[in-house]
């Protein structure tokens, strides 16, 4: 083995440990290895007990998110050589409870995704029968929400968000961006239904626009911007409600 590199990895075994520990592994240093390659090497060659999630190895499945030296990243998308020769510290994503080693619990995120109703909602009387074909959309209409539809649910944005880490009742970046993805879809009528949650305190108002969610997002979803834009539209709603109370539909 020519050159090597050290990885310091967060270990926690739910049945054996009360506290997590860090374990250091020495792995070969290869120019074209990403951090996930090194971790796979550890799992295969050094320590089969190490647990972590991964799948696609190409930045699309969103399952390999880890804290790399304190910054949330897709471990399949960062190269060892960017850190060489320093030691790399690998931890599970911040803000989530740890199940084992690098595996964290994502139930809270999954619940929030469903609560946001991420699907097209049509007004009952405006639903076309199937044989009338699809709902057409212009490229300009598509462009309005396309960036928000690129999310791969990797949760890096949650790990970058101090507001979520301090209080996990906050709905958080990706879920709100996904809500906006449907709110801005010309085929959708579900904004009022989603607004109940989005415009609540736990929705957008906890956000202080730290902006790191957008900085770490591997897909340029820009959830921070989605949240601020939701603040603007919710504020407009609020003033409409207060200033023209008779204009309410419900």
């Amino acid at each position: 083995m020519a050159e090597t590199m050290k990885l310091e990895i967060f270990r926690y075994h739910p049945e054996k440990d009360n506290e997590p520990t860090f374990q250091t592994y020495e792995v070969p240093f290869l120019e074209d290895w990403v951090i996930l390659d090194a971790i796979n090497y550890i799992k295969d060659e050094i320590d089969g007990t190490l647990s972590y999630r991964w799948s696609c190895q190409m930045g699309v499945c969103g399952s390999c998110g880890m804290m790399i030296n304190g910054v949330p990243k897709l471990s399949c998308a960062v190269f060892l050589k960017d850190y060489y020769p320093d030691k790399i510290r690998v931890e599970p994503l911040t803000g989530f409870p740890v199940e084992r080693d690098l595996i964290f619990q994502m139930d809270d995120f999954m619940t929030k995704l469903t609560e946001i109703q991420p699907y097209i909602i049509r007004n009952k009387d405006e639903e076309k029968p199937l044989d009338e074909g699809e709902y057409l959309q212009t490229p300009a209409e598509l462009a309005r929400f396309k960036p928000y539809s690129m999310c791969i649910n990797c949760m890096l944005c949650y790990a970058a968000c101090p507001v979520y880490a301090l209080d996990s009742t906050f709905i958080g970046p990706a879920a709100i961006a996904l809500g906006q993805r449907y709110n801005m879809d010309s085929r959708d009528h579900g904004r009022d239904a989603r607004q109940e949650l989005i415009a609540s305190h736990e929705g957008i108002w906890e956000c202080t626009f730290v902006g790191e969610c957008s900085a770490v997002c591997p897909k340029d979803v820009d959830p921070a911007a989605a949240i601020q834009r939701a603040k603007v539209s919710s504020t407009i709603d609020w003033f409409k409600d207060v200033l023209i109370p008779w204009g309410k539909k419900k």
Partner: protein, 117 residues
């Protein structure tokens, strides 16, 4: 979930932030650099001139009143969340009262002072 009243504070925060960003730097340069270092001819801030300007124009008075009070709400909102972000969430109600209360008090005091010109 209760309907949030945050929009009122957030819109004051945004308006105040915009006013502060646009207007405060040039004012600070005037009162902190140009005037003390005598970089402008005769004394532009002399009593007569400023007093007449303010007492004779409701518009100027109103603009200055807005420039002073809106950024107070900008501060109140931002500082409130800064305190929450450094872990004081357990006393967040008290923080809100002190911050927005401070901005409201400042606005009332400003109104009293402006009415005396």
């Amino acid at each position: 979930m209760a309907k949030s009243n945050e929009p009122i504070w957030w819109s004051l925060f945004s308006a105040g932030g915009m006013v502060a960003a646009m207007i405060l730097p040039v004012l600070i340069i005037i009162t902190g650099i140009l005037v003390p270092f005598g970089l402008v001819d005769d004394d532009p801030l002399n009593f007569e001139r400023i007093y007449t300007a303010l007492s004779q124009s409701y518009l100027i008075k109103l603009i200055l009143f807005i420039v002073i009070t809106l950024p107070l709400f900008h501060w109140a909102h931002r500082f409130r969340f800064t305190l929450v972000d450094v872990g004081l969430k357990s006393v967040s109600t008290l923080i809100s009262i002190l911050c927005y209360g401070g901005a409201i008090a400042g606005t009332i005091i400003a109104a009293i002072i402006f009415l005396r010109i």
